[in-house]
């Protein structure tokens, strides 16, 4: 099995804070790989590093064997045509309706006729179950519908790799179920390679083939969903079981409570 994405010893800092401190991740082709971890651990940053929107301080990221961060702008854009990304907010263009949003990458990168573009857009919309919503504006869509439209747009150019940034957060159970089914179905039907960044444990483990859990800038566990579920490491258990206190403390670092209170008393 070949790896579509390889992340080797990546270090990345932002505002003096280490987000990644030597992270190694491989994304096998044709599989759904989940990257999980608590909020603020840099999961979205990792997707932006893979997409070449951010540059690591150290380490290497390859997609299809190409080092993303040594490519020229032209070659990077060419590589991005093979990637799709579903942003947390959807990232739909608010001045275009659903149909035009999905047609956008086709119009930008192909010379297809309007009839052909219409057919392709309708096929993508049918896949996500929103063919009837083609004339709606993004402001008229629910959160779940927006993500499905964004998903249809992300697969418009038939990419090899699709990256989902928190696709399930803030969704009602029905929308979540629809998105979980779509991610798995599209991956298998279109032969995609999927990367899901999420902290929705149950739903993500149900569709992933392989899972990485990151915290404090490092990979704290990886394996198949079953293996992850059986892992007894304290930090991993705290995240998977949703425990309020543990290796990740409940309290944000601060001086002693007594001392803090006494300092406020005027003598």
């Amino acid at each position: 099995m070949t790896n579509l994405v390889e992340i080797s010893n990546v270090h990345f800092q932002r505002n003096g804070r280490a987000i990644f401190d030597g992270v190694d991740i491989v994304i096998p082709a044709g599989k759904v790989t989940a990257i999980m971890g608590p909020s603020g651990t840099g999961k979205t940053t990792l997707l932006r590093l893979i997409g070449g929107q951010l540059r690591p301080d150290q380490g290497k990221i390859t997609v299809s064997g190409q080092n993303v961060h040594t490519l020229s702008r032209k070659l990077l854009f060419k590589l991005r045509k093979k990637m799709g990304m579903l942003f947390q907010s959807g990232g739909l263009f608010t001045h275009l309706n659903v149909f035009e949003n999905i047609a956008f990458p086709l119009r930008e990168h192909t010379k297809l006729s309007d009839d052909m573009i219409r057919s392709l857009v309708l096929i993508k919309l049918e896949m996500v179950g929103l063919r009837g919503a083609r004339d709606l504006m993004p402001s008229e869509l629910s959160g779940g519908m927006s993500r499905r439209v964004a998903l249809a747009r992300a697969i418009a150019l038939d990419p090899q790799l699709i990256m989902y940034d928190e696709p399930l957060s803030g969704q009602d159970p029905i929308s979540m179920g629809v998105l979980v089914k779509l991610i798995r179905t599209l991956n298998d039907a279109l032969g995609l390679t999927s990367v899901i960044v999420s902290h929705d444990v149950t739903e993500t483990l149900s569709i992933a083939d392989y899972v990485y859990v990151i915290a404090n800038g490092k990979v704290i566990g990886h394996g198949t969903p079953d293996a992850i579920d059986q892992n007894k490491a304290a930090q991993l258990r705290q995240f998977l079981d949703g425990l309020p206190d543990g290796p990740v403390p409940f309290h944000y670092p601060a001086k002693a409570f007594n001392q803090d209170l006494l300092e406020g008393i005027v003598t």
Partner: protein, 260 residues
């Protein structure tokens, strides 16, 4: 003391960094191979959004400013028995100064702020990021058409402002206060030099237009992607543009009076 010096140093470095980024953005927009087939329709859309939609405020402001200048000018000139010089007074004031400056200030408030807010919101809602990930350059697709749209709109708006302002002065001076129409127009024609007054005014408007729209797109592109960040960027866009217009007006006027 050291804290103040450190703060001043940090402010200086931040300001220079921002200027550098703004310069790079302008450079990357201007010195890129234009895609006429895709870029022209987008630029025309922006000429509509920034220019045509600003017409109402420009026309109404132009009319009232022309009328007020005529009213004030008439009463002052009449004291010296020179009321017949109202046409030249209005035309020179409008074509040299009021037209380019007021149009640019209105343009910064109406179109510049809208451009900043729109780009800032596109950034906050990840539209620019998603465009980048679709291998579409936001500089080419979003920034460039807005910059060129503003660049082409400003001189056109200034010409319209000038025309309407002079017509407003005609309404007050001739139709209301009873000046002779022939004297009004012929004195104006004699006194106004096409190159020194009209063309120089238009040149000013081209410079103001570029600066205003440059500030607007840069502030939007660099806005912090939060509601407070976009509000701050929009405010800065209008304030910086207004100050730049007034400062540049002095510099350009000095250059033009000095014969360049």
């Amino acid at each position: 003391m050291m804290t103040h010096i450190t703060a001043l140093g940090r402010w200086g470095i931040d300001t220079l960094e921002q200027l550098g980024k703004a310069g790079l953005l302008l450079f990357r927009v201007i010195f890129r191979v234009p895609n006429v087939k895709k870029g022209l329709p987008l630029t025309l859309q922006q000429v509509y959004a920034e220019g045509v939609l600003s017409l109402l405020i420009i026309v109404v402001s132009g009319l009232f400013i022309g009328m007020v200048v005529a009213l004030q000018g008439y009463h002052t000139l009449a004291k010296f028995g020179a009321a017949q010089q109202l046409g030249p007074l209005v035309a020179l004031s409008v074509t040299r100064e009021l037209g380019p400056v007021v149009t640019a200030l209105l343009f910064a408030g109406r179109a510049g702020s809208a451009v900043t807010a729109e780009i800032g919101l596109m950034k906050a809602t990840e539209q620019l990021s998603s465009m980048e990930m679709m291998a579409v350059d936001p500089l080419q697709r979003v920034i460039s058409p807005r910059l060129w749209g503003g660049f082409f709109s400003m001189p056109l708006l200034t010409m319209i402002f000038n025309t309407v302002a002079i017509y407003g002065a005609y309404l007050v001076g001739v139709k209301w206060l009873g000046l002779d129409a022939g004297a009004f127009w012929s004195n104006m024609q004699t006194s106004v030099d096409f190159h020194a007054d009209v063309i120089n005014g238009i040149l000013k408007s081209i410079v103001f237009g570029l600066v205003v729209i440059w500030i607007a797109v840069f502030q939007g592109y660099e806005a912090t992607p939060t509601s407070a960040g976009i509000a701050g960027a929009t405010t800065r866009s209008v304030v910086y543009s207004s100050l730049a217009i007034l400062g540049l007006d002095f510099v350009l006027t000095a250059m033009m009076i000095g014969g360049w």
